[in-house]
């Protein structure tokens, strides 16, 4: 039984975990850096602990600071969310040695699977199909280059410790390999503190299909069906759905079994995801294991009706889940779109700044996991994800229509977002037909621009009315003067930092 949980993360995932924990009667403690003093995840928390400076290394990646905060606030468990320390076996071990429950797999399983190199080798040993390629020693530059040449192009340079598209680069020509390895290593070192690399043949056309799993202390592993995350830009998923338009019950059972085999062999526990590539002939290749709760877990929750955060917390506490594989059934369809603070017309460059006004729609069949509100600062220090919009319906076209309406009704002013891009992607016939592969965005949307259209006079009238009401002030709506009346989290800021 967990009594008090420290959430070692920020943004939408911290808020989502807080909600799940509260539903189970668990008290929550948020953490924050200098840059996040008035962040939404702090504002909605019951209690929050300062952990350090704005750079992640000084706060969200600082193992000792987080553990000290947990001890100081009397927490008996830590949920790492995704990113930051979520896949750090050292962190999981440090939790264990301080007598704190780490909500996630045991460090031994993380080491075996979280490391892409180890996971590949284990999958091969278990007879699972893998993509041609393998690990390289980045320090042995010449050897690494030769290895790349023998694998062939196009190939993918990946961080061994990576995830979320960070430290990942596609290379089409041998001449570009050295630069790509250098950049990938730097990015990987910055993001994960580990610069080891893997080179892998880049297969196409393929879909990215992944299986959600959850392992129990008994050694039993359950799977929760698949998610299709083929709509990606620069290896970063932007739209995910479950079920996959390309997976039938028999393929689902085979992929599920493959995922269970590798998880069981590694002694996996708690929530995780086994990623595969799926080719047009229905052959799948093991890609990697993400030893954590994933960004896109809500689509699985929507079609299974199972709350994965609840299950993770119960598993971590050593409680029996009372769930059998046969009870996990996918019903209907769910699609998620990720909203990022980035400029789709300027090479998706991050677009930090102040959110002047944010409003989320309240619609049936639509779930919004958001980390922002009016007045939030989008910092240069962290991942630019703002919110996820998940729509579900009994069938796929219905879910897509719901998502389109939800995105149209989502208001975010003050920073550029990828909302118009998501709208265009979701309206594309290839997506509507369920035919997207991992290169879809690159092939159909490179150099994309929103339709340029002058605002009508009604909008100019609105701008003028707004300026007149503001009595000529140039200040926009800020959180201080206008607590967002639409935020689902307006239940009073007990502690947490108030409205500023």
């Amino acid at each position: 039984m967990i009594r008090r949980l420290l959430i070692a993360n920020r943004g939408e995932i911290a808020i989502r975990i807080m909600r799940g924990a509260r539903e189970m009667g668990i008290e929550c403690v948020a953490v924050y850096s200098d840059a996040d003093r008035s962040a939404e995840h702090v504002r909605v928390s019951d209690r929050a602990a300062w952990i350090g400076g704005a750079p992640a290394r000084e706060s969200y990646l600082a193992v000792d600071r987080i553990l000290d905060a947990a001890v100081r606030t009397g927490c008996d468990a830590i949920h790492p969310g995704y990113g930051f320390l979520a896949e750090s076996a050292d962190f999981a071990e440090a939790c264990r040695s301080r007598g704190i429950v780490f909500v996630g797999p045991p460090p031994e399983a993380m080491r075996r699977l979280g490391d892409k190199r180890g996971a590949r080798e284990l999958a091969e040993a278990l007879g699972l199909p893998v993509v041609p390629g393998g690990a390289v020693d980045a320090a042995d530059r010449e050897g690494a280059l030769q290895r790349g040449r023998s694998i062939g192009f196009p190939l993918l340079v990946k961080a061994s410790a990576g995830g979320g598209g960070k430290g990942m680069r596609r290379v089409d020509r041998f001449e570009d390999l050295a630069d790509a390895m250098d950049a990938a290593r730097r990015e990987a070192e910055g993001a994960f503190g580990d610069g080891r690399l893997i080179l892998e043949r880049y297969l196409e056309p393929v879909r990215h299909v992944e299986i959600q799993i959850l392992g129990e202390a008994s050694g039993n592993v359950l799977h929760f069906g698949e998610r299709d995350c083929s709509v990606q830009r620069r290896h970063q998923k932007i739209v995910e759905e479950s079920p996959s338009p390309a997976v039938d019950p028999s393929l689902r059972a085979r992929m599920g079994e493959a995922a269970i085999v590798i998880a069981r062999a590694a002694g996996y526990r708690n929530a995780g995801t086994v990623e595969f590539m799926l080719d047009p002939d229905g052959r799948f290749y093991f890609l990697e294991v993400n030893t954590r709760l994933q960004v896109e877990h809500p689509v699985t929750e929507a079609v299974t009706g199972i709350d994965l955060v609840h299950l993770s917390l119960r598993e971590a506490a050593g409680e029996p889940l009372g769930l059998e594989q046969g009870q996990i059934v996918l019903r209907g369809h769910a699609v998620e779109a990720r909203i990022y603070a980035e400029d789709p017309e300027n090479d998706f460059l991050p677009s930090p700044g102040t959110i002047l006004l944010a409003r989320e729609p309240v619609l049936p069949g639509v779930r919004i996991d958001s980390g922002i509100a009016s007045g939030s600062e989008v910092s240069v220090h962290y991942d630019p994800i703002l919110a996820k919009v998940i729509a579900s319906h009994r069938d796929r076209p219905g879910a897509l229509r719901r998502l389109a309406v939800a995105l149209e009704s989502t208001v975010i002013l003050g920073v550029r977002t990828n909302l118009p891009f998501l709208q265009a992607v979701l309206a594309h016939p290839v997506v509507r037909e369920g035919g997207a592969t991992t290169r879809f965005v690159e092939q159909r949307f490179s150099g994309w621009r929103a339709l340029a259209e002058a605002p009508g006079t009604a909008l100019l009238a609105a701008a003028a009315a707004f300026e007149i009401d503001g009595s000529g002030s140039t200040a926009g709506v800020s959180a201080g003067t206008d607590p967002d009346p639409y935020s689902p989290w307006r239940r009073g800021g007990e502690g947490g930092g108030g409205q500023r």
């Binding site: 960070k166 950049a183 730097r186 990015e187 910055g190 993001a191 300027n346 460059l349 991050p350 677009s351 930090p352 700044g353 102040t354 002047l356 006004l357 409003r359 240069v380 220090h381 962290y382 991942d383 630019p384 995105l407 149209e408 009704s409 208001v411 975010i412 002013l413 003050g414 977002t417 909302l419 118009p420 709208q423 929103a450 340029a452 002058a454 605002p455 006079t457 009604a458 909008l459 100019l460 009238a461 609105a462 701008a463 003028a464 009315a465 707004f466 300026e467 007149i468 009401d469 503001g470 140039t474 200040a475 926009g476 709506v477 003067t481 206008d482 009346p485």
Partner: protein, 170 residues
């Protein structure tokens, strides 16, 4: 209340002259008059109506621009007097080299007074764990090089100034 403004939108200039009594707003634009009923629903949320057709509009503003969300889309109206991002248009490649995004100056790959070729990497910027290499837009001589790795830079801040090479010198 009377409001006179010059806005920039999509490269074009909009001269706006509005009269507002809190319920009706009249906008004069290019010699034409447009009348609307206007209702403020909440801070930043307006309902603008003309001849029985209404649109709900969300509005917010910062120093540089007015942001408007209407019918599922976001519009940005630049304030004419606002500071403009330097060197947004490509042009010759000479002049100030603006930071293409707000972030941290990760590496400075060049030195003051260095001659660089078109496409040479000059700086590596990092924001949100993403790296971006800033390259020279033309062959030229670098002056006023920002040389503090780790420094925070804002979108549009000049990182260096690229000068044409004097043909008599080279």
């Amino acid at each position: 209340m009377i409001l006179q403004r010059v806005y920039d939108w999509g490269g074009g200039e909009v001269r706006l002259d509005a009269h507002d009594d809190g319920e009706r707003i009249t906008v004069h634009l290019d010699g034409e008059e447009h009348r609307f009923e206007r209702r403020r629903i909440a801070a930043g949320i307006y309902r603008i109506e003309r001849e029985g057709e209404a649109v709900t509009v969300h509005v917010a503003a910062d120093e540089r621009r007015i942001w408007i969300h209407a019918q599922g889309r976001v519009f940005q109206i630049e304030r004419k007097t606002a500071a403009r991002v330097a060197g947004k248009e490509r042009g010759s490649g000479f002049g100030p080299i603006p930071a293409p995004m707000t972030g941290t100056l990760r590496s400075v790959l060049v030195e003051e007074g260095q001659v660089v070729d078109e496409g040479s990497p000059l700086f590596i910027l990092e924001a949100m764990k993403m790296e971006l290499t800033v390259r020279a837009g033309a062959r030229g001589l670098l002056r006023s090089v920002r040389s503090t790795p780790g420094a925070r830079v804002e979108l549009g801040d000049p990182l260096a100034v690229l000068h044409p090479i004097d043909p008599e010198e080279s």
